[in-house]
Subunit: 360 residues, 2 copies
Amino acid sequence: MLGKKRRIAVMAEGSFTPLDAKTALGVIRYRPDEVVAVIDSVRAGRTSEDCVGVGGAIPVVTGIEAAAAHDADTLLLGLAPQGGMLPDSWRRVVADALMHGWDVLSGLHVFLSDDPELAALAEAKGCALLDVRRPPARRSIAARRAAYVDALVVLTVGTDCNVGKMTTAIELHRELEDRGVRSAFVATGQTGIFIADQGAAIDAVPADFVAGLVEHLVLEAARDADIVIVEGQGAIHHPAYSGVTLSLMHGACPEVLVLCHQAGRTHVKLMDAGPAPKLRSLTEILRDNERAAGWIRPAPVLALALNTMLLDELEARRAIETTQKLTGVPTVDPVRFGVEAVATELQRRLDERKRRASNE
Amino acid sequence: MLGKKRRIAVMAEGSFTPLDAKTALGVIRYRPDEVVAVIDSVRAGRTSEDCVGVGGAIPVVTGIEAAAAHDADTLLLGLAPQGGMLPDSWRRVVADALMHGWDVLSGLHVFLSDDPELAALAEAKGCALLDVRRPPARRSIAARRAAYVDALVVLTVGTDCNVGKMTTAIELHRELEDRGVRSAFVATGQTGIFIADQGAAIDAVPADFVAGLVEHLVLEAARDADIVIVEGQGAIHHPAYSGVTLSLMHGACPEVLVLCHQAGRTHVKLMDAGPAPKLRSLTEILRDNERAAGWIRPAPVLALALNTMLLDELEARRAIETTQKLTGVPTVDPVRFGVEAVATELQRRLDERKRRASNE
């Protein structure tokens, strides 16, 4: 990950659950061979599989010392607290990891390498502090250029944060690659970057340049791919992140959308107490996303990705069926039952487009 | 301006026209007593009034030396190039100004005070480099809090960039103040900050925190005001800036919108060549803005502000009449004919709300 094969201890103190440890879960699901331990003193002694349903026997341990016993050589900050600041207790853990000579990978909004003490310690120990959320220097202004690439651009959107936009994008990308399609995955958030070893955390970029950066990422990805799958962020109905989502949408200029939702989620997740807005109906959210995309380039919702993590299998099948009936849109659970139907439809569109091109 | 009464030379080299010199025009219109000269070698010898229709006899001069002859003590970078970078030729001008012992006020995305050479020169000369676009340290996450303030929150939105969102907001604020209403103006861009001596340039803030910052600005402004007028940015239909606009909308949670448009504008202004998207119809844009606001808090478009700068007076009156008929929404040109009708409607809403509150 990020330059070399690693032995990672994932920090998820007090929060190693399927809903709270988004980054940890993503890294463990897609880079399991590089994770040797998860740090969460509350759940120490259990396995990853036991806590979050993936990661098999990867042990959950109490802290840096215990992770060192598993030959960790890297600490990954596996939680993305809203606001992205570094809790004091975590600061000590980072310092400890550096004292052990480990690199530290961080997806926080606050940059570890800007902290003079941590930076000095890292230098003294010859370790790297890698802040994957640091915005790239590139500053360009979007101008709908991504609407003209030859590749078929797909964007995942969501009814809320943390519903499965990244996972759906990666599952689609992997399924297409397995079928021999030239697919590219564009990571737009810290977890996606850890998994893909490239991309940019667009939510940390000065707002004026977000769409321009996304446009650039899509143009680059489209050079060597027939299908470009862009990882979505936030939700256009989320009071805090709607702007990030719209910049992403209008920078990427997708041809089709995949709308992600968590079965059973009824309210928007907000940071603190106070009345959380109720989620609109899926049909409304679907239509609003198509409209918002259409302000720059029309894009239908091709499929729904329903995250049924909190349901048992029978409930999950029922939820998928109900959702499909309700919306009239093909519905899958990418993690539980795969994305075959969606991949097939994307291939069909790609073939059709190639046929059209060769007829011209 | 920004801490003291100044004698400002406004830099607008090669671009001192009504449509290109947005920041210069705003500062000259609303802080004319502090502007002693405009720098534009192409138009040197003319007056400000002659070039942009405001600013009376303020002279346009060739450069720093000529501005010094008018006892300038401050250079203001009065152009906001898309992308916000510092052209090399401007860099020399900034250094020249510092050599004269002037402060330099900048609204660029690149920060003058981060430039080691300029910073050293400023220090040696005892001058200030004020980068008003530098984001405040505050980083909070929006949660629809602005929907619950007692004040009536008004947001200006636009069909495109540079159509009059800031000007409309300031004209409304001034008209309300003249009537004795406790009004507050929330500046969200560099020009607004120069004029209001406070606010934040939200487009330079990391995308995740834009809505949260706007929310904070509105909560602060609402403490001592009955009406809060928020300066709009960008446009939800603009491929580069739509995300900034939506963050602003959802952070501010306005109760009503004022939609700004430039009469005769048919295409979105993009940075470079390439096909500029056609503007949708005013009716569509109006409805889309109401919808987008409504994802967080319903807000009708109360009025249209039509910028008729490029028309003669008869054409202007016709354009206003036609627009009003077409959309069914009261239409004004804030600069040419004032905002009385809109201010009256806002007062009516305020009175009604007070009546309701006293009846409860």
